[in-house]
Symmetry: C2
Subunit: 358 residues, 2 copies
């Protein structure tokens, strides 16, 4: 995580800012999935009495070296093992962890953080981060058009392939066409994509579709499908519709939404019993100034949706863990255009799609 | 496998060529890892009395549809399961299988083919293919230089990173430098690469480093490290050293070998008791006319080796299954320059490297 300075910087600020010293000075801290041990080091620098840095992989050896080299070998104890299996000599005041995956929960370690919380956190203790939110916004991404074109090219390629196999081997493979088509659709049109979205590609403000208090959310709540409704007003970007020669800026009469964009943020607020005086938010929202490694997830819409500024995309999202791999997930979306414009009236009913987040 | 016409064409020729009809007409055939069922169809078309097409994945459903659509539903029986676990109603005369992985044995299904042979092949029965060979040649690939440059850039990046982490967070990460360096070396210099090598990049003829008779090789022989010695004469390519204005073509005084290139071929020769009248070889050697999907594996040498035409690279290769994943492997190479040239004399002793084939 060290190369991503938005990420590491947020943890650094939250943990070592002098305003938050009361949250760490003299406390016992558990770092879940410690990796290189950098968060454990931050906690030690913030005055922790003891830090248990639990890391399942052989990376634990490097964490130990890093801690020693920085003079905190007496404060930080690196333990190689899973947090579900380790036994600590005491309960802890604070849990720090960098557990977030793409779209927050993909391949995330949150299950392990909650297991650690339930097993080792003292009543009133705090988690860093303490809260997480998921966001969704309408966007123009070009990805949908590219994906549609690639899908069409792939299906055209199949046609040629079918003729070639017949000519070369006398085998009729048309029976496989539906399966091939389904596979290509899954790949090109029903799978979300990592992207570093520009804020100027958003076609309206985001909506918060889910919010977690990590101090209280249960494992059962996380395992159940997550459902959220949204209403996303469409807004013209600044300067859109302006003529080449300048003049009055007119909002465009039509906005073409060809993707939903999803991202998350986490907040370091401490706990009700031990609130952070200096609250920090780590956001993975679209940002001109440099994205985090998480980027955003783009859900391409084929065909795109058209609406006018002032209309809104209203719909719902369902995030489900995949039965074949509970660390991956599928995202169901449904949406329709609401509003008074002619485009909204022409948009027809609710559309649906299910995406794999890979 | 259908899109690779070198591959499918070789199987088609071997199985359906009328000269080989005695090998299939009226016979019972087992297709191991049938995939789409195309080889089973070829065998049925060649006159097999019965074909058992065993496929472990849900692809079996598509194989069934393909077989039905092509009118061989009464000959080909598609069975979903592993060949190690299925029970056939009879022994078979012939096993067909497309089991080969990169450099022949990476992620290959050969273990399953041998298990099927030992369980279900009648004495004197034949495997298609029946033999396999591994080849190695010296080459100029440019990959080694690119890999060296990338490695150097990555290590330079580490230097900057180390300073930045110190400046931002007051953490000294120099203790992690050796581990980072080892990881980058593994990635850039100790891992082979897939490539579609041009024949003109070979700097001499290949040597056969291993040969398998699939009718007799044992599982134990396959699981043991495979060791082979080689002597690779260096030859100047045609036209090398020619002046821009034409004139006499002079071989270059120095050849710079910056890679070993490995590939395989398989032969369809039937068995001693049932030889194929029309023998077919499927080669994955460098070919201007179009590579197979297997391409070749390139082992970059850093630094390169220099020799003169007439010198030779002499050495040994050891291919070992990886203990952490027996379907992957590591390739140990050692080499030295032999010959009378000044370059050979200056080349120094034997060099060694171990590569992961990923």
């Amino acid at each position: 995580m060290l190369e991503d300075h938005v990420r590491t910087g947020a943890y650094f600020d939250a943990i070592t800012n002098p305003l938050n010293a009361p949250c760490f000075a003299g406390k016992v801290v558990l770092d879940v999935g410690a990796g290189s041990g950098i968060l454990a080091l931050f906690a030690a620098r913030a005055g922790a009495r003891k830090v248990y840095a639990v890391e399942a992989t052989p990376m634990a050896r490097h964490a130990r070296a890093l801690v020693e080299a920085n003079g905190f070998g007496d404060v930080v104890e690196v333990i190689q093992g899973t947090v579900e299996s380790v036994t600590l000599p005491e309960k802890v005041d604070v849990i720090v962890s960098e557990w977030m995956g793409y779209l927050l929960v993909r391949e995330s370690m949150l299950d392990s953080v909650l297991a650690a919380r339930d097993a080792w956190l003292k009543p009133g203790g705090s988690l860093w981060p303490s809260h997480a939110r998921l966001w969704l916004a309408p966007a123009r991404s070009h990805l949908a058009a590219a994906r549609s074109a690639e899908f069409a090219a792939s299906m055209a390629g199949w046609g040629g392939f079918q003729g070639e196999v017949d000519a070369r081997y006398g085998v009729d493979v048309s029976a496989l066409a539906p399966a091939f088509r389904a596979e290509q659709r899954l790949y090109y049109q029903e799978t979300s994509a990592w992207a570093d979205v520009s804020p100027s590609d958003l076609l309206g403000p985001p909506a918060c579709i889910a919010e977690f208090d990590l101090g209280t959310v249960t494992k059962a709540e996380l395992e159940a499908p997550l459902r959220g409704a949204f209403r996303l007003p469409l807004e013209a970007e600044e300067g859109a519709g302006a003529g080449a020669g300048g003049g009055d800026k007119q909002p465009p009469a039509s906005l073409c939404v060809d993707a939903f964009v999803g991202w998350f943020d986490v907040t370091f607020a401490g706990s009700p019993a031990a609130p952070a005086p200096h609250e920090v938010v780590l956001t993975t929202a679209p940002d001109e100034g440099g994205a985090t490694h998480w980027g955003q997830q783009v859900f391409p819409l084929s065909p795109p949706v058209r609406g006018a500024p002032g209309d809104a995309l209203a719909g719902a999202i369902t995030i489900t863990r995949r039965s074949d791999n509970h660390r991956l997930m599928s995202v169901g979306l449904e949406w329709g255009v609401e509003g008074g414009s002619a485009l909204a009236k022409a948009a027809g009913g609710v559309r649906k799609a299910v995406f794999q987040v890979e």
